[in-house]
């Protein structure tokens, strides 16, 4: 295997936090690499659309990073180590593995969607709400498709509006938050006219009666793919026909790489101080990986990380910064998941999709590790990225430790590491 490539700064993740970090770091050093598992930069929210490209007002940033930093796209981080202030990533791209070394690592690994199991959620056609957004931008044709969008949070209406624009027939947007909390949220929006305007614009694109507040999907039904869903408000049950069901229960920070490197991770995400330093010297973190706070916050943190990483990368976090802003607290309060939604899985509902483990196969008294060892839940290809967060919610379990490989890989790639 060839020698490792060396860079002054390596950024992992090319979403808003990673791109702004690479951009601000590249103003001070010409030796910046940015790594992403996707073939193109952008992450999720700025994902490149197959026909429309990047969001218009982000093209300058994408171009600037492309000119000033080395983009290592389509590369999966298989393992990562840190010794004596040097950080090394083992990457795999198109079946070949290689190493990248740096003194300064910026983790901008973003977040993934929280999936909560319910009967029928394994049927083709059931996708995450962010998943639908990503698939549409990657060329999924939704013209004429009947779509039900369910779960909680502002993303539901935003994605519904996108789907309508692309020709879908969004038949229901099912928000589990109660009328009471949504009214409170509406009042808070009055103090944020731009956000309120955006929300109203999205709502206008939906037909009358499409938005159902205080309802949730209890079951998806179909043979080879989803054909209908059952929605309930706790009393009534209504069946709605659909071709696609989206669920959005919230986001989970991607902290596997940080944990593998030994960075402290708290309940909100990777712990950082006011300069985006993690608890490991020379390793910074920015964006959703450090706590779900949205794109504006991710850009600020990415910029900060890029500046500090190239001016004074010594030291590390000793106390972490309290993170949540008042807006985050409002969102959390409004869109708290109701217990019925967390507890939808039945004993015969599959919870671990990789290994087809049913809820009834798992003893609530176990730990996440025991569920792996005794029932294989979390032992499959996704390595518990989906069922781990769900079981954490359902049973109140803590997360299991992270071990290499961080993603499925070949033996030859792993041998290349030694």
């Amino acid at each position: 295997m060839a020698d490792a490539s060396r860079f002054d700064v390596v950024v992992v993740g090319a979403g808003p936090a990673g791109l702004t970090a690479a951009f601000s770091a590249a103003r001070r050093t010409s030796s910046v690499a940015i790594v992403d598992q996707a073939e193109h930069v952008g992450g999720q929210i700025w994902r490149r659309d197959v026909s429309e490209g990047y969001p218009r007002n982000k093209r300058w940033l994408v171009d600037a990073v492309g000119e000033r930093a080395t983009f290592i796209g389509g590369a999966t981080v298989v393992d990562a180590t840190t010794t004596g202030g040097r950080h090394e990533l083992l990457l795999e791209k198109a079946g070949r593995s290689f190493r990248v070394q740096t003194g300064t690592l910026i983790l901008a690994t973003g977040a993934r969607e929280l999936f909560l199991p319910f009967h029928g959620w394994t049927l083709p056609g059931v996708v995450g709400v962010g998943g639908l957004q990503a698939l549409m931008k990657s060329g999924l044709d939704v013209r004429g498709k009947r779509i039900v969008i369910s779960g909680t949070g502002p993303l539901l209406v935003a994605v519904a509006a996108t789907a309508v624009k692309r020709g879908a027939d969004v038949t229901a947007v099912v928000e589990q938050a109660s009328w009471g909390s949504m009214m409170g949220f509406g009042l808070q929006l009055a103090a944020r006219p731009l956000t309120a305007l955006e929300a109203l614009t999205h709502l206008q694109q939906l037909g009358a009666g499409v938005l159902k507040i205080g309802w949730w999907v209890t079951e998806a039904v179909g043979t080879n793919s989803v054909e209908r869903v059952v929605v309930s408000d706790g009393e009534s049950r209504v069946s709605v026909d659909c071709d696609i069901l989206c669920t959005g229960f919230g986001l989970v920070p991607n902290t596997e790489l940080a944990r593998r490197l030994g960075c402290a991770v708290g309940p909100r995400g990777v712990e950082v101080d006011g300069r985006q330093r993690t608890t490991i010297p020379g390793i910074f973190a920015a964006g959703e990986a450090t706590g779900i706070a949205g794109v504006d916050s991710a850009m600020k943190e990415g910029t900060m990380a890029g500046i500090i990483a190239t001016t004074d990368s010594s030291g590390h976090a000793v106390s972490h910064r309290p993170r949540s802003s008042s807006w985050e607290r409002i969102l959390e309060r409004t869109f708290t998941l109701r217990p019925e939604v967390v507890a939808l899985a039945r004993p015969d509902t599959i919870v671990c999709r990789c290994e087809d483990v049913r809820l009834g196969d798992i003893d609530p008294a176990w730990s996440a590790r025991q569920a792996k060892l005794y029932a294989r839940a979390g032992m499959g290809a996704c390595q518990g990225r989906v069922c781990g967060a769900a079981l954490q919610r359902i049973f109140g379990w803590s997360t299991d430790s992270v071990r290499p490989p961080l993603q499925p890989t070949t033996v030859s790639s792993l041998l290349g590491a030694s």
Binding site: Q37, Q44, G125, A134, C382
Partner: protein, 82 residues
């Protein structure tokens, strides 16, 4: 066939796809499931962003590729054997 459309092969059957789309989107547009689960259930992409591995299949002889992370290419050979 226009320059922006080309063929890939899915389990030996030719499928016409537009340039640039992901393998996952192409197969879902064709109404095809992407994978069979260990108990034999049909599965398709769930997360669409490389997390869930529900869209894994074999692309050009390389097993366990995530269909949502790969764009189609002319002559690409896809097989859905898990």
């Amino acid at each position: 066939m226009s320059a922006d459309l080309f063929q890939i092969t899915v389990d030996g059957v030719a499928v016409v796809v537009p340039r640039g789309v992901s393998v996952a989107a192409a197969l879902m547009n064709a109404g095809l499931p992407l994978r069979e689960s260990v108990r034999g259930e049909p599965r398709a992409a769930l997360c669409g962003m490389g997390i869930c591995h529900e869209c894994r299949l074999t692309i050009d002889g390389r097993a366990h590729r995530r269909a949502c992370m790969h764009a189609v290419a002319p002559g690409m050979v896809v097989s859905r054997d898990g």
